[in-house]
Symmetry: C2
Subunit: 324 residues, 2 copies
């Protein structure tokens, strides 16, 4: 069982790799757990001191020859996480199209050249939704992205579904909520603040929040996302059927609630490090995203969310061994 | 006012060109009718004796340099009709992806290089719908294509919308019903029979229908499609707003009704030329398509369907000057 993780040098990809190392197996097409023989991380950069059991391949997703060589011909499992983030795809349209759309397309075509159609987990996003939205979205809500990132993601979902229908891959697309709390530094994602307003204050630094207290987001913790990626992979093809996309469960939280919860857990001194300075460019994008879902299909498929906003914050504190 | 019609050598494209020659003008961005100075048809083949007022450019949509050279830099209006048809895209996956997805993408990028963002009318299809469908589809029904053609079309719709949002084009996508009655020869479209069962018998030839009498389709006549293309073009950008896609109105007809109507109009001798021989490959595709819509938005925007199935058949008889 050879596994490829694109974006494997990134936070989620590397955490997935660690989880797979610990698990040691993944189901094969007959549903039996099979030992993972190799985990290949494909990315432009990797953590220092990466686990030596992982094979790190430095490359660009838009380089088709490199992608094909990395897959080899014997890859059984693909977790496709690599992506130009929302803010980046909006700022540089051509880069977003090239990486998020063409890159995924190239990866899908390379998958067709494997000995057997690989199982393929694609990380889409709730950013595919936007515009006039119902108060609560559900499995029938039509994607209507208000950013190029979301447009690219929804196109890829349709490709993953069609390549699956043709039998070229056995694909599954997960629409990820905003992931919080990410460790490390802020990134270009318009949702970066959803981690920053928790992470920076807990690390004693000021965090400037570009959206107001009333802005609501749909949140999931990194731990739950990793669980979802592996669960999505392990579900039998027949369980997915012709519907290859699912909205992941999450928690609705306003920026105000997140700040108040942080204050309750870590005290005023920490929470007072958050400064709200709305940035219209970021706010327009974030406010176009959905904040509340009814996740019937996801629950039926066995996916689950964090208990509440407090447990999302406490998961970060525990992961990072922070003293509060 | 320079106009480009891709697929301009095909039946609909050429008919659109003729309609534009007759009309002589199209609205400019201020909403004023402006004289059409040039109509360029881009295609791989053209009708013999094409009108000399039309500039025919032979080329392949996948040839980016050729597409850019054809647009020039001064094109104001693009009608993008060129496409590998449904049956063709299903039989040759790579060709369909290359022409329908990459070709459209190349054309959109070439549009960005025009002096002003061109107005862009894209012909999508009701083949974007499929799978478990409600009895009556409406403007909120989520595309769920069961063929690669539909998957490619829905991806292009999202691209047209996003390129419009970015201000690179002023796009509008029309989901065309099955067009009937097309003159000429059968083609690779899985819906080819919807014209064949009327056209061949009226021309004294046998028509083999690959779907049963109960199969229902959503029909629109060529004349009404041309009207819709021009109407879609002339609607102000503000009328479309952020919603750049619309399901065109049509008529629901079963194969049985079509045959019975033909019998009423043209007699038993003609109708008896139809032989029903179901082909599972075609039937699977056709039965996955929707056959009934509620078209609130289209009606609001001023689009309309034919009066009934009889008038669709009579339009063909009149266009072709057939004696019945």
């Amino acid at each position: 069982m050879k596994v490829l993780i694109t974006g494997g040098g990134g936070f989620l990809g590397y955490r997935l790799a660690q989880a797979l190392l610990k698990k040691g197996t993944l189901v094969d097409v007959e549903g039996k757990q099979e030992a993972i023989s190799q985990i290949v991380l494909f990315d432009m950069a990797f953590p220092e001191n990466a686990d030596t059991r992982l094979k790190c391949v430095k490359g660009d997703l838009t380089d088709r020859a490199c992608v094909e060589a990395t897959l080899g011909g014997d890859t059984n499992a693909v977790f496709h996480l690599a992506s130009v983030v929302s803010g980046g795809a909006e700022a540089d349209f051509d880069l977003g199209m090239r990486v998020n759309l063409d890159g995924t397309r190239g990866l899908l075509d390379a998958c067709r050249k494997q000995a057997k159609p690989p199982r393929f987990v694609f990380t889409s996003s709730v950013a595919v939704f936007g515009g006039e939205l119902p108060e609560v979205l559900d499995d029938s809500t039509t994607p209507n992205p208000q950013g190029s990132y979301g447009a690219q993601k929804v196109c890829c979902e349709y490709l993953v579904t069609d390549y699956s229908r043709k039998g070229y891959i056995d694909g599954r697309s997960l629409r990820l909520p905003t992931i919080s709390v990410r460790p490390g530094k802020p990134n270009l994602a318009a949702s970066s603040f959803a981690s920053g307003i928790i992470r920076e204050p807990l690390n004693g630094a000021v965090s400037v929040c570009p959206v107001g207290r009333d802005a609501r987001i749909w949140l999931l913790s990194p731990g739950k996302v990793i669980e979802a990626l592996i669960h999505a992979y392990e579900l039998p093809s027949s369980t997915w059927g012709v519907k290859r996309v699912v909205n992941l469960p999450g928690n609705t939280a306003s920026v105000g609630e997140m700040i108040d919860t942080l204050r309750r857990i870590a005290g005023d001194k920490v929470a007072d490090l958050i400064q709200i300075k709305p940035d219209p460019r970021i706010e327009a994008l974030v406010l176009s995203w959905p904040a509340r879902f009814r996740n019937d299909r996801a629950h039926q498929l066995g996916f689950s969310a964090d208990k509440d906003v407090e447990s999302i914050i406490r998961a970060y504190i525990s992961d990072q061994r922070i003293k509060v």
